[in-house]
């Protein structure tokens, strides 16, 4: 629909601006709050313009944290989150790609059963199986470890399904040409499938990284040592100041910092991400 009507243009822009405002306003308020001294919140009004304490607040959170709430410095928590998110994203991609490879390219008994078993796990997210999963992780001695944080979240039916669809779009002739060219299954996987699903991997990586970064319930359960606190769970702990008023300026500073890595990943991989979702050229 290509029409040139100034009125429509105005309306379209109005809607877009409204949408941006709705999304951006809370972020702005959080940012402003993170730049004020604690006294600014006592009055009950929310300041709308940045205050003088930007550097003080952020350096305090990154450097020492708030010992009274039992959380380590934000830098430690961010590192934990980063390791967990990367392990989840990379692990998920690796495992689901190989399982999709097996399902699409190998004829083994109960192949369909295997596929449907993987598919059914979609109905069992961590929240549903949280007690048995916790028991397993605890028995394996993985509480308070990066493995405990990430392994239960790695198995993924969605990603397996996505890669299965990607592999199904790769023409049979390409597989056959590779066979005639003397590429065995593993060589085919490495030389043909991997490069051809590069953009899909990138798109998936962005989604999975954010998924891993935003994990809240599971890290809250399996980490009791503050050395392994993740940032998202840490914000909650910060806000739960038992013996006093929550230090909103510090909570908001932490929240702002927690937003940065996902934003960085999205911006950094934007081009590949879009290509991976819309590109059909094979």
């Amino acid at each position: 629909m290509i029409e040139n009507r100034p009125g429509l243009d105005f309306l379209a822009h109005l809607v877009l601006i409204l949408g941006v405002a709705i999304v951006a306003l809370p972020v702005w308020i959080a940012f402003v709050a993170s730049t004020h001294p604690p006294s600014a919140f006592v009055s009950g009004t929310i300041p709308m313009l940045p205050g003088p304490d930007l550097i003080t607040n952020y350096s305090r959170m990154l450097g020492s944290g708030v010992s009274s709430s039992g959380t380590p410095p934000v830098s430690t928590m961010m590192m934990n989150s980063l390791i967990m998110a990367l392990m989840i994203a990379i692990g998920k991609i690796a495992i689901s790609m190989t399982s999709a490879f097996a399902i699409v390219y190998f004829r083994f008994p109960f192949r369909n059963l295997a596929f449907w078993c993987i598919f059914i796990t979609m109905m069992l997210p961590v929240e549903v199986r949280i007690v048995p999963t916790f028991k397993v992780v605890a028995d394996l001695g993985m509480l308070n470890s990066y493995w405990g944080l990430s392994v239960p979240l790695i198995a993924s039916a969605t990603a397996t399904f996505l890669f299965r669809q990607v592999f199904l779009t790769i023409p049979d002739e390409l597989t056959e040409a590779a066979r005639i060219d003397g590429a065995g299954p593993m060589k085919f996987f490495r030389d043909i499938l991997l490069p051809l699903s590069r953009t899909n991997m990138a798109a998936l990586f962005v989604i999975l990284f954010i998924y891993g970064w935003n994990q809240y319930l599971w890290p809250l359960l399996v980490t009791t040592s503050s050395d392994y606190y993740t940032i998202v769970a840490g914000i909650k702990r910060l806000a739960d100041a038992v013996d006093g008023v929550p230090q909103w300026h510090l909570v908001m500073a932490t929240a702002m910092l927690a937003m940065l890595p996902p934003v960085a990943v999205v911006i950094g991989m934007q081009r590949l991400f879009v290509k991976g979702l819309v590109d059909t050229e094979k």
Partner: protein, 335 residues
């Protein structure tokens, strides 16, 4: 270089569908054999069985006196050119050509030498560092052939390699393939549904129908002496007229035949001709015109010079010895 022998080769799919049965072909070293037939006749299945992409359910396939029934495609010493080229989209032309050699642990200088040679032969030198998507259809086709050439295999297998090209390019590439094959002298098996392509390329034609061989012979043999009504109707353009003998009982020497075949180009207008047709349509081809009509309910096409006179009814005569007689029930040729 090698001969290829197919002995009683058959393909039965699980579920019992028979795609190909009892195929015997002897392909001499350096020969260019074209498998031709309508879609679904099993020609591609046959080729894929030779390539090793399809298991062989019956009989034996030998490449250079070695039974290859249970040998992996990569070890059969064949190279295949696919209809959609099947170039690796993420590799440059050079990498595409080199991939098969690299997998066989060919030394690097040797790979470079062979790629350079193939690029020279096919005139794709300037495109070596491009990706396939930056090439035109004809160039992709050349790269696909280059991938076969660099391997220096015992045999080339072509699976309708020209079907994705436009008509003009198809004619050029057809000639190039022919010249290339003659120059390299590599045994070739070529599948097509286009009878013109088959006629022009083949040393010998194998005409297939419903998974069975109808006829094997040089293009001229098949054209001049089609072994059955199927071959008669399939080879040659415009297609041979196949007339029920009952419609023209007055033709001499046709009493025992069920079907009479006359090629459109063997017919001419003659005042005392034995066949009278009422004209229904005329197609101008420039050099000649095709006149369509019918006699006694049987369709007849005749190729006439473009300056010939036309009327609603034409009497036609045929060249002596131009009648092909076929058995009524079996459709086989009667000599």
């Amino acid at each position: 270089m090698a001969s290829i022998t197919l002995e009683n080769v058959g393909k039965v799919y699980t579920g019992g569908t028979r795609a190909v049965g009892g195929v015997n072909i002897d392909i001499a070293d350096g020969e260019f054999i074209v498998l031709v037939g309508p879609s679904g006749c099993g020609k591609s299945t046959l080729l894929r069985m030779v390539a090793g992409l399809e298991s062989i359910s019956e009989g034996e396939v030998k490449i250079g006196n070695r039974v290859v029934n249970n040998i992996e495609p990569a070890d059969r010493d064949i190279a295949m050119v696919f209809q959609n080229y099947a170039l690796y989209p993420h590799m440059s032309v050079r990498q595409n050509l080199a991939y098969g050699l690299k997998n066989r642990n060919t030394p690097k200088p040797e790979i470079e030498k062979r790629v350079a040679e193939a690029a020279e032969i096919l005139q794709i030198g300037p495109y070596l560092d491009r990706k396939p998507r930056a090439l035109s259809g004809g160039q992709r086709q050349r790269v696909a052939m280059g991938r076969a050439i660099v391997r220096e295999p015992a045999a080339f297998l072509f699976d309708e390699p020209l079907s994705n090209l436009d008509a003009k390019l198809r004619v050029t590439m057809r000639l190039e393939i022919k010249e290339l094959q003659k120059r390299l002298g590599t045994t070739s098996l070529y599948v097509t549904h286009d009878q013109l392509e088959a006629m022009t390329l083949a040393d010998r034609l194998v005409v297939l129908s419903a998974g069975q061989i109808e006829q094997i012979g040089t293009p001229l043999e098949v054209y001049r002496k089609p072994a059955s009504t199927f071959v008669a109707g399939f080879i040659g353009s415009p297609a041979m007229n196949l007339i029920d003998a009952k419609a023209v009982p007055h033709l001499p020497g046709t009493a025992h035949a069920g079907t009479i075949g006359i090629r459109p180009e063997d017919l001419s207008v003659a005042a005392d001709g034995p066949i009278e047709i009422s004209v229904t349509a005329v197609e101008e081809l420039g050099a000649q015109r095709l006149v369509h009509g019918h006699t006694q309910g049987e369709r007849v096409t005749v190729a006439l010079p473009s300056d010939s006179e036309l009327s609603d009814n034409l009497r036609l005569a045929y060249r002596p010895g131009a009648l092909h007689l076929f058995h009524r029930e079996t459709g086989k040729r009667i000599d």
